[in-house]
Symmetry: C2
Subunit: 449 residues, 2 copies
């Protein structure tokens, strides 16, 4: 009997747990779900046969190691910094390891030992990273098999709201970690376009937009995301002239968010302290120059010449021109802004999230040029069964299932960019409704700029 250990039973584990727990009896497996909160974990398992919930403080090394030693495969759904610790335990105790997080340098340093011990470690097998790799590699491998040359690859992904829940001017609410949303894009983003390296500082990032359209859903803003250059190697596209990975927001969001960036209100590098009982208006004024007669609105319009009405409306809707009290007066600007948004951008119980992903390829084939647009739209079912939980958890669950069924026979350290891993996972995801729609345009009249 194979023994699966899942570490962490949070929101994004819902589908992962269900998928694996449902077949424990029929496939003669046992599933242990370990979480700080054993009661919540038990609730997720719903008394299914061959499953057990246990309480675990992940920092408690003896308990952690004992649990791992009893398992065959370990799935880490913990915060990213914990993965290397769990992976090291797995390496020591000879257990296979799965995660949906980035393959860290620390993980990479274990590569040889993993191979020597004949273990299988799979990272980046969630949504982004995960489904993005798999669906892109499918197109890339197919093109290469036909002797075609990929001249441009842009890939965009966003965790957003289902259209019926876009009930504020931002068309945005927090469907995942608010802090990550407030700090999104900090640092310098890098990509390559028509052979030219491009570097975008944070304060230019939310202006460097591409419009990305999803049929039936309309337009989204895509901005370049971190280091696209490093993916050239991952995808075997070292010589590609254009490679860009981007993040999606609803059209108009980026222009308004850029106001906060321009003012310095997303800064997380220092602690400010506003007087007690300060208002949102006063907070915004602290990031505007002093003027004898001009109002906050007028100074903002002067500082941000591109401030149009839809942008103004979004800022206004949050209360920045009103006497609404700050929920927090001391903290980094980013922390104070987050506290404000956590009220305004909170998900209502009836809200549903949405995952959108689009790959845009330009390919030179034997018979001419073509574009391939490959788009995924995944809608959440409810506040628990979110699109995020589906798209993060299911690829991982399927990978574990295939591995235990002997359908993935690899050993070593992997991300899902090889056919043996991604083909069966993508095909299972399709049966669960997570399916890319491909559109091919032969000899496009107007290639993308």
């Amino acid at each position: 009997m194979n023994h699966i250990l899942i570490l962490g039973g949070g929101k994004s584990s819902t589908f992962l747990i269900d998928y694996l727990a449902d077949t424990c009896e029929s496939k003669n497996r046992f599933l242990t779900l370990a979480d700080l909160d054993a009661k919540a974990a038990a609730a997720k398992l719903q008394n299914r046969s061959n499953t057990a919930a246990v309480s675990l403080d992940i920092q408690d090394e003896p308990s952690r190691k004992k649990l791992i030693s009893e398992a065959d495969v370990v799935i880490s759904m913990l915060p990213a910094f914990m993965h290397p610790i769990v992976a090291r335990d797995c390496l020591e105790l000879g257990k296979h390891f799965f995660s949906a997080s980035y393959e860290s340098d620390e993980m990479k340093s274990m590569k040889e030992n993993i191979e020597q011990k004949g273990l299988f470690f799979l990272n980046e097998c969630g949504l982004d990273p995960g489904i993005d790799h798999m669906s892109a590699m499918k197109v890339i491998h197919e093109a290469h098999d036909k002797g075609e040359k990929i001249t441009s690859f842009k890939s965009f992904c966003g965790g957003l709201l289902s259209p019926q829940s876009e009930s504020n001017p931002w068309k945005y609410k927090f469907t995942w970690n608010p802090r990550n949303v407030v700090l999104a894009g900090q640092g310098t983003s890098r990509y390559i376009e028509k052979g030219d390296l491009k570097f975008v500082p944070y304060h230019q990032l939310f202006k460097r937009l591409e419009t990305v359209n999803f049929p039936g859903l309309g337009d989204f803003d895509g901005y370049p995301n971190r280091d696209s250059l490093s993916y050239r190697k991952v995808y075997g596209l070292q010589e590609i002239p254009t490679m860009l990975r981007g993040t999606l927001r609803r059209a108009g969001y980026c222009k308004a968010w850029n106001v906060f960036i321009q003012l310095g209100m997303t800064d997380d590098s220092f602690v400010m302290e506003m007087p007690e009982n300060s208002t949102l208006r006063q907070l915004m004024n602290a990031f505007l120059p002093y003027h004898k007669t001009l109002s906050v609105e007028e100074k903002l319009a002067e500082l941000i010449p591109e401030l149009d009405f839809p942008t103004f409306e979004k800022i206004q809707w949050l209360g920045f021109f009103s006497d609404r009290k700050l929920p927090k007066t001391k903290g980094s600007p980013a922390q104070i802004l987050q506290a404000i948004l956590e009220t305004d951008w909170a998900l209502e119980p009836e809200d549903r999230d949405m995952i959108v992903m689009q790959h845009q390829f330009e390919i030179e084939g034997v018979s001419g040029k073509k574009q391939i647009l490959s788009s995924l739209v995944c809608l959440g079912k409810d506040a628990t069964h979110t699109a995020m939980a589906q798209t993060v958890g299911l690829p991982l669950a399927i990978a574990v299932d295939l591995f235990l069924d002997g359908k993935i026979k690899l050993t070593g350290l992997h991300v899902p960019v090889v056919r043996e891993i991604y083909l069966p996972i993508l095909s299972h995801l399709e049966t669960l409704g997570i399916k890319f729609v491909e559109k091919e345009i032969i000899n496009p009249a107007r290639p993308s700029q």
Copy 2:
């Protein structure tokens, strides 16, 4: 016989050494100058009586402590991170300590011990910090003595070029550490204006300018410098509605420098690698969006709407629109930019530097409002006898001289904001030509905004 030890005989020590060495014989003192390069140190001492040059690697603790143990007062002209190490030695060995650098938290942590041992530790006794404190405190104390209220204090300082050496469109060359010039202003600057706290992110800083005029020299740009708020306490002005410390550049410099900031070319947080033989034009293009037909110049004009001809000319003069090869293709953007500027902004042997400082006070007295403008202009004599070396070294030299003459009788940890320290130093500086010119405007018609 009192024994003075100077650690570090670099460029900014020239006047300090001369001032103290000249009187060693008459005042029955001995001066040791310790530097990694004992020959250069000896050359600075010019065989004056009662002086000796020694070679010292400051990291060599036994040698360092031996030298310190033989001294009565120690002057640290070392890089800032070394001051606490030397100060700790002085505390241990019971020696007085002097520096021209900021009083660090580590230094503050020694406060009680310094007092207990009856020692005198003086920091921030150079130019900025140093002369700025002293000259400001003189005005502040005088106003407070008269029962006047200071409602606004803005203070600006710049290390620039003497007008006859302003021989390029930037009117700037490196008269001190090029790296500090390239990174100047990074972080978030803070000040208070008419009672409102103001926070300025780096990418807004070089737009938040005030024009500062020096009679006979013309206009300068002043931008807010780091944390002006903390100076309210230092200067005993906790309740002041307006307090701003700024850095000066020649008028027009900031607008052009801001182009580099906006593009991300002063970023020091990541390493980029341009292809071999890349040009300055290609480097600039890497920070601009791709466009099918627009040139680098056109894209720049589109990205920076306020790009006027004087700004364009400055960028062009550096070669950013030309095929000039990059002096360095790998490094942080800031490092690459610095390498370019080090050629173009190098001081010629005949170049002279200039220090400008201006305090702007608004004061409410019994008989109405007044403004006080207190301005200092100090010109360098030649490439060795720079204005920077004069204004950094002389206050420190005078402080040590006064202390050894028994004219400063304080103990404990100090910065020169008390009369007993600043009055005699300012009066000695005047005799050496370092003199503030004060202008008082009674009932100003147009108070500053």
